[in-house]
């Protein structure tokens, strides 16, 4: 039971870290998309 609990916690932690990294990457991507769109709009 202890081993299973440990496995669950380890996986939850790993998934939380991966989710945080992906969310951060999405925020950065959204920022650069916004900049590109603004530049596109200015060029037209």
């Amino acid at each position: 039971m202890g081993d299973e609990q440990e496995l669950i916690q380890r996986r939850q932690k790993a998934r939380a870290i991966v989710t945080a990294v992906l969310l951060l990457a999405f925020v950065v991507l959204t920022f650069f998309i916004t900049i590109a769109k603004i530049r596109e709009g200015m060029a037209q």
């Binding site: 669950i8 998934r15 998309i33 900049i35």
Partner: protein
């Protein structure tokens, strides 16, 4: 009193990655990127990256939904038995939620960041792969991969539409090339893993029509594929570099396909394995040649 299904521990994040079929995604991303680079108009690098990301995520979503629906088939095939669902490392509901979420995210991001034309074609490609190929055709007809092959042919169209906002003759020819390439590619594979498909009850052509009919069909599909592969050059859509490359690459494909067409089952199935391996290289190199041709022009 009812017996509840045993609760699984939360799936590892690597299993979610495996659901997206990363190896299949490589070819999808590459053809999508080449479709974009072959387009006459360029887009901002960050938008190009976003478009390719959306194509990859859309393909991953389709792969996840395919594995969600086919978990029972995957369990009986040696090639797929170790996937997260048949191996019991993930519950089906997680795979479904992941697939639907990823599909919606990829389409919405494509629509908002790139353009609606690319988002619309991406939507059609995901729905085509999941509903037409996986749910409708795969278990019912030996024509499953002929019609279903269209799903894998969309990325060059999406890439082109992402760059230009519209569809033209060249990306339609690229679509047709991947569409006509799919049957010889998959039937070469099906010839040497026929027993696996038979065990799972999937009506692949070698299982239903036999080995000789499959070999004949490989030869028959290679002819229009070869014509479509070379067509952009005489039509004036590409330069001589692509023309020479496509003729040379397609001639090798034709020679390998001819050996399979006139051959018989042998213990090592070498000609079939060679055609299967070369068909992957062929698609990578011919799309690469198209991009190089654009740069030379």
């Amino acid at each position: 009193m009812t017996t509840a299904a045993p609760l699984l521990p939360p799936a590892d994040w690597r299993d979610f990655l495996a659901l997206t079929k990363p190896r299949v995604m490589t070819l999808v991303v590459f053809t999508g990127l080449c479709g974009m680079l072959a387009a006459p108009r360029g887009i901002a690098p960050v938008l190009a990256f976003t478009a390719i990301l959306c194509i990859a995520l859309g393909a991953g979503a389709a792969g996840a939904l395919n594995q969600w629906y086919e978990a029972d088939l995957d369990a009986v095939m040696k090639r797929t038995a170790k996937r997260p669902l048949p191996a019991g490392r993930m519950d089906r509901q997680s795979a479904l939620h992941f697939g639907v979420g990823l599909a919606a995210f990829s389409v919405i991001l494509m629509g908002l960041a790139v353009n609606m034309a690319a988002a619309a074609i991406l939507t059609v490609s995901i729905l085509f792969y999941v509903l037409i190929y996986t749910v409708w055709l795969k278990r019912r007809t030996p024509q499953n991969i002929v019609i279903g092959g269209a799903a894998g042919a969309f990325p060059p169209l999406i890439g082109w539409a992402a760059a230009t906002g519209e569809v033209a003759v060249l990306p339609v020819l690229l679509f047709a090339l991947v569409f006509l390439w799919t049957p010889p590619h998959f039937w070469a594979l099906a010839l040497f893993i026929e027993s696996d498909y038979a065990k799972a009850g999937i009506p692949m052509l070698p299982v239903v029509a036999g080995e000789r009919a499959t070999r004949r069909q490989i030869g028959l599909y290679t002819i229009p594929m070869a014509l479509v592969a070379v067509a952009p050059w005489p039509l004036g859509l590409t330069g001589a570099f692509y023309g020479a490359a496509s003729i040379a690459l397609t001639a090798i494909f034709g020679a390998l396909a001819a050996r399979v067409t006139i051959g018989r089952n042998t213990p090592g199935m070498k000609p079939e394995k060679r055609l299967f391996a070369y068909s992957i290289i062929y698609l990578f190199v011919i799309f690469g040649a198209l991009v190089v041709d654009r740069w030379l022009a």
